[in-house]
Amino acid sequence: MTPETGFRLRHKHLLGIEPLESEEIRLILDTAESFLEISTRPIKKVPTLRGRTIVNLFMEPSTRTRSSFEIAQKRLSADSLNLSSSSSSATKGESLIDTAKNLEAMAPDMIVLRHPAAGAAHLLARVCRSSIINAGDGAHEHPTQALLDAFTMRQKKGRIQGLEVAIVGDLLHSRVLRSNVFLLRKLGAKVRASGPPTLVPPGLDRLGVDVKTRIEEALEGADVVMMLRVQKERMVHGAFPSLREYFNLYGLTKARMKQAKHDAIVMHPGPMNRGVEIAAEVADGSTSVILDQVTNGVAVRMAVLYLLSGGAVGELAA
């Protein structure tokens, strides 16, 4: 390959799906395909990022995303450092920028940031020299989740183009929804979304989403059903009367799945609230690919770390 046509991301950071070109998304997915194999080897490690230091700065609780990033880093031989909100000086009142600048003084190559405020990753990208990977910023974006979701859809359905994807649940607080909508629209899928009217953000239709009030309408003929978690911790006011009523109106049950195509798959970014947004029999059923999503998450994150580490002459993203 020539330098002009070389395979690389044009970005130094991964702040969201919105700034990515569809070719860049395909490059990440294709690269992840090759990384999937490494996790099946007896020695699950390659030396590619040897000597690279990566800080995982998690200012919000996370098990899946953090452990997935950590495993991806270990399998690429990077040195990683984990900081969480409870163990960091943020509890002593240090600002995010000060925390990041102090970490940078120790010369890491990348910072993976999870933060409750939308735009936190963009803020760090402006003040830091390191590559910033957004691992979820408030209700804004969660790009690696959308990439692993797309990877799983492509793996199960063979394509993204033309898929009918139904996304159901708490649409208002969901960064997973936003990143998925950007990605699926760029790759030519159709997205319908459904949730209680109190949890539908205004202007969602302007992102190219077909908003349905009843879950049955959203599920009708869908190839992919993606359930979103009811974010109880973000629910400051009563958006719906009770969890039971939520399940009755918007929970994914076996009966409701009959609305979707017969070979439709069920996805969930986790952690699941069984009996709230999804019935246990669906979550554990044969159409569920929820654990495949977790497996694929490691390969997708390896691909992102690998691509962002290569020949860092790309311009700043935004």
Binding site: M1, T2, P3, G6, F7, R8, L27, D30, T31, E33, S34, F35, L36, E37, I38, R41, P42, I43, K45, V46, P47, T48, L49, R52, L76, A303, Y306, L307, S309, G310, G311, V313
Partner: protein
């Protein structure tokens, strides 16, 4: 079309005869075919490994497993040089513990690709030995590595490049030496031009 800057050094017939000879040499040196496996280094080592396996099948009526190794992740410049090669998967679907591995590549140059390939292989197990087969050895080693089976020793100047074209990848079987600054006739850089050799 071929110019003074581009010399054809092996044509289809020559490549064919060379591979047949190499297959015989491999069989001569390895009597125990049970434990023999071939591993091709992406990209052009893979069709060469498959061709050697089919020669061995014709001669001895034995099926030798062929694996595919992508060394991109093991390169010593993986994160320091320009655009990445598109990463492709490694497929070694058989146990390699105790096996005799013949590593196959098209051009042996600095030896850095082979160094990376040895690291890659070792991550899959502990073979009893690893031998190296290359279609062309062009010299200029930077590491203490040598090939066990060489199709053709090709003395070159460092600034020249050796281009191997194979039917499976390029639609024709040819080996060229190209003088610096001149790309191949179709303009596409081939084989070793951008890689570590």
């Amino acid at each position: 079309m071929p110019s003074t800057n581009d010399a054809l050094v092996m044509d289809e017939g020559k490549i064919d005869r060379t591979l047949t000879r190499m297959a015989h040499e491999i069989l001569e040196k390895n009597r125990d075919l049970e434990s023999l496996v071939l591993v091709g280094i992406r990209t052009r080592g893979v069709p060469l490994a498959e061709r050697l396996a089919s020669r061995i099948r014709e001669i001895e009526k034995v099926e030798i497993p062929v694996g595919v190794l992508d060394i991109t992740l093991y390169r010593d410049d993986a994160t320091t040089v320009g655009p990445h090669a598109l990463l492709k998967a490694t497929h070694i679907h058989f146990p390699i513990d105790g096996k005799k591995i013949i590593l196959v590549d098209d051009v042996l140059f600095t030896g850095r690709t082979i160094r990376a390939a040895l690291d890659g292989i070792i991550d899959f197990g502990r073979p009893s030995c690893i031998q190296l087969a290359v279609l062309v050895d062009r010299g200029h080693r930077e590491l203490p590595i040598r090939a066990d089976y060489v199709g053709k020793n090709l003395p070159t100047a460092r600034e020249e490049s050796v281009e191997v074209h194979l039917k499976e990848e390029d639609g024709r079987d040819e080996v060229h030496i190209v003088r610096a600054g001149i790309t191949s006739r179709k303009g596409e850089p081939s084989s070793k031009e951008k890689s570590q050799g």
